[in-house]
Symmetry: C2
Subunit: 410 residues, 2 copies
């Protein structure tokens, strides 16, 4: 993966999208923690949200806005994001806090409340200091500019160690389409709750229904295919918006060939951001791609992939650079998915480890051990019973994870 | 819980049950690793087994024996147990190894192969050195004695730090019934796979069908309600047998009142052994009882209990003695079970932490922090929407767990 040069904000611009971020002292002083993204009239917003049954009010609110987004396209869209406080499990006051923030933005920008989304990340259960946010809204809106996205990528961070940003252009027919994405990761620090947030903006001309479908499909293959510690946040949110500013004929039909081209680049942006989240997972030293093939179906393949990727025993073995394939067998077994032991082929990188229901005759422990020393690992499992496939990215389980999450509560 | 005095084998005797254990050098030298339990003719054996889809051959074999056990009551029952090698994922040779061991015992004891069960625990994927076992069978059978169960409790250990044994008597009508149980825990050490094994023997006169039903029900409430790290072994096995030697009229009907009395004491034996396994879990410093009440139904309650007990974020918070109730909310939410946020009441011990969808007004962080310093903790969640209940026991997640499972592979 290429290193991103964050020095020049101007490289990452989408016509019709403006950004602003500042320090509102929500939890910590003197760090960026409040962001506003404004997309001009005619923009579309789609999204996917956490499946948690203890969803934060911001998730419930923004989900409603996305659902009604197709009906209010004549107005701009605003996305306000705060870090330092998740506003989760805060009772009725949590919902009221959102309403107050949204009302303030609506009046300030003269747009309808129905066009304003909110995302919050940080500590659970503490009241959102919404007055601090409201006080900053005038300067937040005054400072909106096309070239401040790098600061936004920083302002949405909690325990992330670096900002996550991707910008890609591709040619569609004769004109260039841009896709810009920022994300924050699932690093967690006591007493904070991790949250995965990602905001992606493009300028493609496309209908709401088609873009929402693409967002859902690609989220499954990217943001919903990563795992740091199997825990699900109350506040996860991925928003994919477009300013519809590109010079092109709009995409209005699901049969339009250009969808494929667009999806390919969008998937890359989403996948690269998702992988950055895993790499920056707490205490994570290794990135593992789990490839499952030959499963009964795709769902079964993904369950098996997640069962392996989330197993504490597999993750500690990888942290110890130990090619402990017995634990992979255990994790496949505990998934409850249909398998035939004799057909399972496990590969570490290019090395075949098991076949015929036992360790491969030519298995060379030394080579496998050397392979495990890599920072990026591939664990491939061919179940040999069907055509189901899945890819999942995970990390290892280190003492640093325990330290971050147990030892250092302020 | 009372400390068990292991100095006197004679305290733990069941008429009709004989024990033998010795050192067969299966993996390590000079430690007990091979056990034989012989139950006289007329005995009954019931069991529950791992749900893993990568079951070890010993599980598949012993399951069959249990299923046919009701038909062969005229013959004794033999249970052979080895530690040091799980004989799991060893292909056809794994099954052949069992057949050879079983044949040798059958010839030596002159009983049918159908009455011989086998359990194996230890490393996955390495061929079982069955010849070492076969060589020792003559001395194993010669040494069978009624008062050697403490050595058996030691011989089935892998990474357990102490043997687990319970013996209880209770009065049924006019006579005493005895229940003896041993277990090994889910400690794991690279490259070993943990396995939970428990062997319980009583002398009650009871039908196979009734005993099997009791075994299944009580296993759900005890051995299947504990979790160390959410990983499921290929080899878990709980066998509950009776020598039918007690002086009493046999229990033949499900309506028999004495079943309740027996179940009560058996549950206590199974629960105490199960809790010992959690306490001796790798790197475990704290034992937590998760009590869920007011759930939609019992199944939903148990899913929520396990979602909390298995959450790395909850477990690291407990290791850090941090009353981080936000992570409990997160774990309830990620379970996917039906809940109403406003109705959730979380208690740490006697302290009410949340109600009305937010932190309790009288929540005192200092008191909660002090409470978390205890070694035995109670986390109670009242969901307030139904009558479903569950109890699950778990442990914390410490750096020692990572050390044991990542750092020290031989």
């Amino acid at each position: 993966m290429k290193k991103i040069d964050f020095s020049n904000n101007k490289k990452f611009m989408i016509k019709g999208a403006r950004f602003s971020s500042l320090c509102a002292n929500i939890k910590y002083k003197n760090r960026l923690d409040l962001t506003l993204i404004l997309l001009e009239a005619g923009s579309i917003v789609t999204g996917v949200f956490t499946n948690s049954k203890t969803k934060a009010p911001s998730v419930i609110w923004s989900k409603k806005v996305v659902k009604s987004a197709s009906k209010n396209a004549e107005e701009p869209i605003a996305i306000v994001i705060n870090s330092g406080n998740a506003n989760a499990f805060t009772g009725k006051k949590g919902t009221q806090a959102i309403e107050k923030v949204v009302l303030e933005i609506a009046e300030n920008l003269k747009i309808s409340k129905k066009r304003i989304l909110m995302a919050s990340t940080g500590v659970i259960g503490e009241p959102l200091p919404y007055k601090k946010i409201i006080d900053k809204i005038p300067s937040l809106t005054q400072n909106l500019t096309e070239n401040q996205v790098v600061d936004c990528a920083k302002a949405i961070m909690t325990t992330d160690t670096y900002p996550k940003l991707r910008f890609k252009k591709f040619k569609l027919d004769k004109n260039f389409i841009s896709i810009l994405g920022i994300a924050k990761g699932s690093g967690m620090i006591a007493p904070n709750m991790a949250t995965m947030l990602s905001f992606i903006i493009t300028d493609i001309k496309i209908s709401y229904a088609i873009l929402q479908k693409i967002t859902s499909n690609l989220s499954d293959k990217t943001f919903n295919s990563i795992t740091v510690d199997s825990d699900t946040s109350t506040s996860d949110m991925v928003l994919v918006s477009t300013t519809s500013n590109a010079n092109m004929k709009p995409i209005k039909k699901f049969s339009d060939n250009r969808i494929k081209q667009f999806s390919k680049t969008l998937e890359l942006v989403m996948k690269e951001l998702a992988i950055e989240i895993v790499k920056d997972g707490e205490g994570s030293n290794k990135l593992i791609e789990y490839q499952i093939i030959g499963a009964l179906n795709d769902k079964s393949a993904k369950n098996i992939a997640l069962s392996i990727a989330n197993s504490p025993l597999v993750k500690t073995a990888i942290a110890g650079e130990d090619p402990n394939w017995g634990r992979i067998i255990m994790a496949i077994g505990k998934s409850g998915e249909n398998i035939i032991q004799e057909k399972i082929k496990i590969y570490f990188g290019k090395y075949l480890i098991t076949n015929n229901g036992r360790v491969h005759k030519k298995y060379d422990e030394k080579k496998a051990k050397d392979y495990m020393k890599n920072t990026n690992l591939l664990v491939k499992v061919d179940l040999g019973i069907g055509r189901g496939i899945a890819k999942v990215w995970g990390c290892d389980f280190t003492k640093e994870y325990i330290e971050i999450n147990a030892d250092y509560r302020s």
